[in-house]
């Protein structure tokens, strides 16, 4: 039997993994790029995939719905992520870890993470339903909102989507930060106490730096997820009313599958992908530079 050399264990599986990635992710990506340069459509007549160069991209640049959708997604990210991080931070600091009470509370934080994206959207669709939603009833009872439907009204639909996202992901941030917080050495806090530092000082000088890595992790995860957010929005509002909650993934879906213009959808997808890669690379480059400098 051919023996595995001690230092090369895992190289075989790593090769398989990379091959799978190339096949299942990269190949479709290349195919998509090819489509974006054609006029392929499976439902529109006479569109059998002739090469049309960059026409799709030109169309995209003047597609106001596309840009609005992109803007909406950015707004979504800019609003949701900081709120999730801040609330997550506060909660992670407030939760009593070692008491038996903490042992009961902390697992309950996991509940939102057990739901599938679809389920989250559907449950909140019920809770926020204009005619019989539980939350709507109490919000109206306290006079906070009028008689209009929350999900059906252009102004509040976006807020609803934000709310649902915050509900779903704040516990995740809280737990990552909680795990990181317990990893900060006790001795640091003791030194701070000896130096006479108050609670605010301790927070900014010891807790926050110790959580830096965890905060970055949360940030990275949430940002990449925002652009791919589909299940939840689809189940909650379908992108409506109109296009008021049409985040970019939803528009991509509609462009490709509902309008049936696969080539155009591919072009849009490619543009999005370029944007994502550019952003994350810049982000990682900044982080990497900071790490190397310190």
């Amino acid at each position: 039997m051919h023996a595995i050399s001690t230092s090369s264990l895992g190289i075989g599986t790593l090769t398989i993994v990379i091959a799978l990635m190339l096949l299942i992710v990269l190949l479709p990506f290349c195919l998509m790029t090819y489509y974006s340069l054609t006029d392929l459509s499976f439902s529109l007549p006479g569109r059998t995939g002739h090469f049309i160069g960059l026409s799709n991209f030109k169309q995209a640049l003047t597609d106001s719905r596309f840009w609005e959708s992109l803007l909406l997604t950015v707004q979504f990210a800019i609003l949701a992520i900081p709120i999730e991080l801040v609330i997550g931070l506060i909660v992670s600091l407030a939760l009593p870890i070692r008491s038996p009470c903490g042992r009961l509370l902390i697992p309950l934080l996991v509940v939102p993470l057990l739901f599938s994206g679809i389920a989250v959207g559907l449950v909140w669709r019920l809770l926020l339903h204009g005619d019989y939603g539980l939350l709507v009833y109490y919000l109206r009872a306290f006079g906070l909102i009028g008689n209009r439907s929350l999900l059906g009204s252009p102004t509040s639909a976006f807020a609803c989507v934000l709310l649902v996202d915050i509900w779903q992901w704040t516990p995740f941030c809280a737990m990552v930060l909680l795990a990181a917080r317990t990893g900060i050495a006790r001795s640091l806090y003791n030194s701070a106490k000896l130096d006479g530092a108050g609670p605010l000082r301790t927070f900014f000088d010891i807790t926050l730096p110790g959580l830096r890595h965890a905060l970055l992790v949360c940030l990275l995860f949430r940002t990449t997820d925002c652009l791919r957010e589909f299940d939840k929005i689809w189940a909650l509002t379908n992108g409506g009313p109109g296009t008021r909650t049409e985040l970019i993934s939803v528009y991509l879906f509609k462009a490709s599958f509902e309008h049936g213009d696969q080539a155009y959808g591919s072009a849009l997808s490619l543009l999005i992908y370029i944007v994502v890669i550019a952003c994350t690379n810049t982000f990682l480059w900044i982080v990497w530079k900071k790490q190397n400098a310190s």
């Binding site: 990379i18 799978l20 509940v111 559907l122 990449t224 591919s266």
Partner: protein
């Protein structure tokens, strides 16, 4: 005095957050046992006679047994496949020199950046060409590809912390390199493996996009079936709630079983690697 106020504020916030977290789940559970009239009642009803009607209707209209077993098979298959490929890879990864590692890591993570909608069509066509469409194996492979980057990233951190000497000692004790990896190293990295398993199972079970693209009626998973209950005209809330509850059951069971180990992981500071 101020400290006391701050402390009570802390408690208030904690309870508030936890309440917000479980409220939708509680309401969902209640609605699963209500009749349609009770669900759509205004003001909302809290006292009612629970009934299993939703569950039986759901089972009558959709083959729950098949759906659940599909989901189960796929979740288990994805976990096993991901671990089989991911664990040795992340071990090798944890021992590579830095430069190549950075690049490989970026490559792996970048595959997670692509919105799946973007490549949905070519994805569908690829799998149809290979013959893995409408096939649970194809779904397992596709979901594993989605889970592998995170697993490798997570586990390579854990493996990097385990001294190579343990791996060597196991071989000196007489195990082959492969055996010493699977019997000893994986056991020592158990906390990380546990986290990976939980993430993979939850991801696979709750996945909608990949499952809806790659499955047909016979191979559909539970989660992929749910949105069918939402139609243009009428939403079958009762069946929907019961369906979601059923879908949540196995996951909740898993979370319950892993509860103690999970709390220990968070509160002991060992998960900070993640």
């Amino acid at each position: 005095m101020l400290v006391k106020m701050a402390r009570s504020l802390q408690w208030l916030l904690s309870y508030l957050t936890v309440t917000m977290c479980i409220l939708p789940a509680i309401w969902l559970a209640m609605c699963a046992f209500k009749t349609r009239l009770e669900i759509t009642a205004w003001p909302p009803i809290f006292i009612f006679v629970p009934t299993f009607a939703n569950f039986s209707t759901l089972n009558a209209n959709h083959n729950l047994g098949l759906l659940t077993s599909n989901s189960l098979i796929v979740a288990c298959g994805t976990t096993v496949f991901t671990l089989l490929l991911g664990l040795p890879s992340s071990f090798y990864f944890s021992r590579i020199r830095n430069q190549i590692r950075q690049n490989l890591l970026l490559f792996l993570l970048s595959t997670k950046m692509v919105p799946l909608i973007a490549i949905a069509l070519p994805f569908y066509m690829l799998f149809t060409t290979i013959g893995l469409h409408g096939n649970l194996v194809g779904l397992i492979v596709a979901q594993s590809v989605a889970c592998l980057p995170l697993t490798i990233w997570l586990m390579s951190g854990f493996f990097a912390d385990i001294p190579t000497e343990i791996y060597w000692a196991a071989q000196l004790d007489g195990l082959s390199a492969r055996q010493s990896f699977w019997y000893i190293l994986v056991r020592v990295a158990a906390p990380g493996v546990g986290v990976s398993v939980i993430f993979t199972v939850i991801f696979s079970w709750n996945d909608y996009l990949v499952a809806s693209i790659l499955t047909t009626a016979e191979t559909r998973t539970l989660t992929a079936e749910l949105p069918i209950l939402v139609t243009q005209s009428v939403t079958q809330w009762g069946q929907l709630c019961s369906g979601i509850i059923l879908s949540l059951l196995p996951i909740s069971l898993l979370a319950l079983l892993a509860r103690r180990y999970f709390i220990e992981g968070i509160t002991s500071g060992t998960l900070k690697k993640f």
